[in-house]
């Protein structure tokens, strides 16, 4: 407790030297909300530009739409419906920090899919929390088990400010979140599952039909096991829709 008192005393000396800063910060005037919003917008646009240019190149050099075996087109409403399933999920970032997803908003644009995740982050040990907005690129992957899932690749976390000075007192928590590797936080976020499965092994039940008219006969065909190997070759995004292109790499029937 003594060391605590020493620390607080030191701080008081520092605060004395910067007394005017204390007043300004409490009023919240030091935080330039507009600059923060511009920085966020710049990051979103840079990513969009990069992805869009890459997709334009892919589409120019490839007859994806004509030559791909399985094409899934999912509307923005469809993707939003998957994302809605994540609302109210509460999980931990570490043993002291938890988050609750308030809402995920998906926006499919030419070249990229963005997700804006409204969340509340809470430092359980101190009982303080803050609302944050996380910006993410949405990436679809095909897992080994044949499940198609959407993952969030975070590229920005901002405090959600409704009026200036609102996060004073929680700034330490916010800084703590912002200092982390975005990828690390992204890994902690839940994935959403697209209700589309590409099973690798498909049993095909044999038949047995007994015909009692003349000629009487029993017709049988054996059980079979089809093994498929599919690959997600492209995830492309257009205004209001996502296109997942799968190629059938291998088929065997036993």
């Amino acid at each position: 407790m003594r060391s605590a008192a020493v620390l607080v005393a030191c701080c008081l000396i520092v605060a004395g030297a910067f007394g005017c800063a204390l007043v300004r910060e409490i009023a919240g005037v030091e935080f330039d909300k507009e600059a923060f919003d511009l920085a966020r917008q710049a990051k979103v646009l840079e990513l969009h530009a990069e992805r869009l240019a890459r997709q334009a190149k892919t589409l120019a050099n490839n007859d994806i739409l004509e030559k791909t075996d399985f094409l899934f087109l999912i509307s923005e409403d469809g993707v939003q419906a998957f994302a809605d399933r994540l609302d109210s999920i509460t999980d931990t970032l570490d043993d002291q920090t938890s988050y609750t997803i308030r809402h995920v908003r998906v926006s499919l644009q030419d070249g990229a899919a963005f997700a804006t995740i409204d969340a509340h982050v809470n430092a359980r040990g101190y009982g303080v929390g803050i609302d944050v907005v996380m910006d993410a690129i949405l990436v679809f992957t095909l897992r080994e088990q044949g499940v198609v899932e959407g993952r969030f690749e975070l590229f920005n976390i901002s405090p959600k400010i409704t009026k200036e000075g609102i996060f004073l007192g929680n700034e330490e928590l916010l800084e703590n979140i912002l200092r982390r590797e975005l990828a690390e936080i992204g890994r902690k976020l839940p994935v959403f599952q697209v209700p589309v499965t590409m099973p690798g092994i498909v049993p095909i039940k044999g038949t047995r039909v007994e015909v009692i008219t003349r000629p009487r006969f029993v017709l049988t065909s054996p059980n079979r096991l089809a093994r498929y190997r599919l690959r997600l070759v492209h995830s492309l995004f257009f205004d209001g829709k996502a296109l997942l292109a799968f190629s059938l790499e291998e088929i065997t029937v036993e």
Binding site: S3, A49, L86, G169, E175, P195, I204
Partner: protein
């Protein structure tokens, strides 16, 4: 100690010693301008393609016929016993005036059929399956002729016979290609031996296609997620199924559209 350091951190925060690292406005504005220029250049070509891709419901699946044919090819080929007929009853097979009146009944026998080729083609609005098969077996005949017969190897489903295939979504979300109620003509050529004479005889039987060809499940399932232990939230995605489904043939693609229904099926 933890309380003390927390107090310190809050204090530091309040005194402005910690501030958020925000880039200057001008720097952000320059970055925005550069990005917008790239977007303006790349967007038109992508946008045109996107506009041509119409999705009227939540999801659209396009299956290329070539992929279906590659799958079907694996269901045909050199294996034997793709299906087997086991004849169990009397059936007049051969009735013919040949020096003496000749009638032969099929008593019993087995014919094993090997599918040589299966192919789907789109014809107008329908998807047709063309199939060729050969088979061999031994039939036991009874009748006036003192004869045993064998089925010659050229038993086949006539090449011009085709059945309409239906592309359907099963209740569990599996996508299957299944024949409709059409019949397939199975043409069998027998050789009936009477004494030392061999009399060829052709016989055609019609069988419901769906009894010969099992529904072929494609490697795609739409609906319930196959959850596993790694998916902590997979329960949230379980009560999904595809409703309001339409299937069309567009050029060389089977196009299926539907909406996801997230309502709990248990409750209905």
């Amino acid at each position: 100690m933890r309380d003390a350091s927390f107090l310190l951190l809050v204090f530091l925060a309040l005194t402005g010693c910690r501030s958020l690292d925000v880039p200057p406005r001008q720097e952000s504005l320059d970055r925005i301008r550069r990005a917008e220029k790239v977007i303006a250049e790349a967007r038109p070509s992508v946008h045109i393609i996107g506009k041509a891709l119409m999705v009227r419901r939540d999801v659209q699946l396009r299956v290329r016929l070539d992929a279906v044919n590659r799958i079907l090819r694996q269901f045909s080929g050199n294996r034997s016993d793709d299906f087997t007929f086991l004849f169990t009853g009397d059936h007049p097979l051969v009735t013919r005036e040949f020096l003496v009146p000749l009638s032969v009944d099929l008593d019993s026998g087995t014919v094993s059929v090997n599918i040589k080729n299966m192919e789907v083609r789109s014809e107008g609005d329908s998807l047709r399956l063309f199939l060729r098969a050969t088979g061999r077996g031994k039939l036991h005949l009874t009748g006036k002729a003192i004869a045993t017969a064998h089925v010659s190897p050229d038993l086949f489903v006539r090449a011009d016979d085709s059945v309409i295939l239906r592309f359907a979504v099963a209740r569990n979300g599996d996508i299957v290609l299944a024949p409709g109620y059409d019949s397939l003509a199975l043409e069998m050529t027998f050789t009936v031996r009477i004494f030392s004479m061999e009399i060829p005889w052709k016989h055609v039987e019609y069988f419901p296609a769906r009894s010969i060809l099992p529904p072929i499940r494609l490697p795609v399932s739409i609906g319930d997620i196959v959850g596993n232990a790694e998916d902590r939230y997979s329960e949230r995605f379980k009560s999904t199924r595809l409703i309001d489904i339409s299937v069309k043939l567009i050029n060389d693609f089977i196009v299926l559209e539907g909406r996801f229904d997230w309502e709990d099926r248990e409750g209905r």
